[in-house]
């Protein structure tokens, strides 16, 4: 079992993707199937960007076992008012600045959903959000 941990600062787009690239390197070294690495990278990147774009700060914990990967992405932030709505393609509350960078198309959570075997979202408005994602090998 390998355990990786990263802290993410809200608003710091220059480092977005760092955790995802480190996890990718680890999975490559372990010889995990390319298609599965792709799925994990897409999901983790979107979760990472959501902390940067929507929350104050967050934490990513990745557990790699012989049978799969579990990613727990939690943040202190505004939380999600309506998870069903947030899961819809095109729904976004991203700021104008974030949209101008090409984020905020409302495709992040749908991307996550399509690329993992299991997604759980726990959220409390005004407190924060925790995504638990599982991808089997």
């Amino acid at each position: 079992m390998i355990k990786l941990n990263y802290t993410i600062e809200g608003g710091d787009f220059s480092r977005a993707g760092y955790a995802s690239s480190q996890v990718k390197k680890n999975l490559k070294q372990l010889g995990v199937d390319q298609k599965i690495i792709k799925n994990i990278v897409v999901a983790l990147y979107e979760a990472e960007v959501n902390i940067v774009a929507h929350a104050q700060k967050g934490n990513i914990e990745v557990l790699i076992s012989p049978t799969g990967v579990k990613m727990i992405v939690s943040d202190q932030g505004p939380g999600i008012v309506d998870v069903g709505q947030a899961m819809q393609v095109g729904f976004s509350t991203a700021s104008e600045k974030v949209r101008q960078m090409g984020f905020g198309a409302g495709m992040g959570l749908p991307n996550i959903k399509r690329n993992v075997d299991r997604l759980d979202i726990e959220t409390k408005v005004g407190k924060g959000t925790t995504l638990t994602m599982i991808k089997d090998f």
Binding site: G17, V42, V49, M101, A105, P110
Partner: protein, 110 residues
């Protein structure tokens, strides 16, 4: 086709020295929405965009795209060039608009 060959065929500007020039191009993807590229571009794609910040490099590297082609004479800032070279991502530039450039790329690759 290799990135170097495409540079020659389309007379592209190379911003990132020799980074990624030997990559094999399998197809193209045109989008300025980063999650769209993240979720739907394929490995080895040449990515046409007008976005030119650090996250473009992160996505190209994470998704193993063949190269990034900036349209309309857009020039990447120094931090983008530096990160792209470090991550072996080729960032290229064209004076053409997306429509014309995508058309040429399509006919070259198909």
């Amino acid at each position: 086709m290799k990135v170097t060959e495409l540079v020659e065929k389309l007379q592209l500007k190379v911003f990132t020295a020799s980074a990624g020039l030997e990559n094999e191009i399998t197809g193209g993807y045109v989008s300025d929405l980063l999650s769209d590229v993240m979720g739907h571009a394929a490995e080895g794609n040449a990515w046409l965009t007008l976005q030119n910040h650090l996250n473009v490099v992160a996505i190209a590297s994470l998704r193993e795209l063949a190269c990034v082609i900036l349209v309309k004479n857009i020039e990447p800032p120094a931090d983008v060039i530096q990160k792209a070279i470090a991550e072996d991502v080729a960032i290229l530039g064209s004076s053409e608009q997306t429509f014309e450039l995508a058309g040429k790329l399509y006919s070259i690759l198909t």
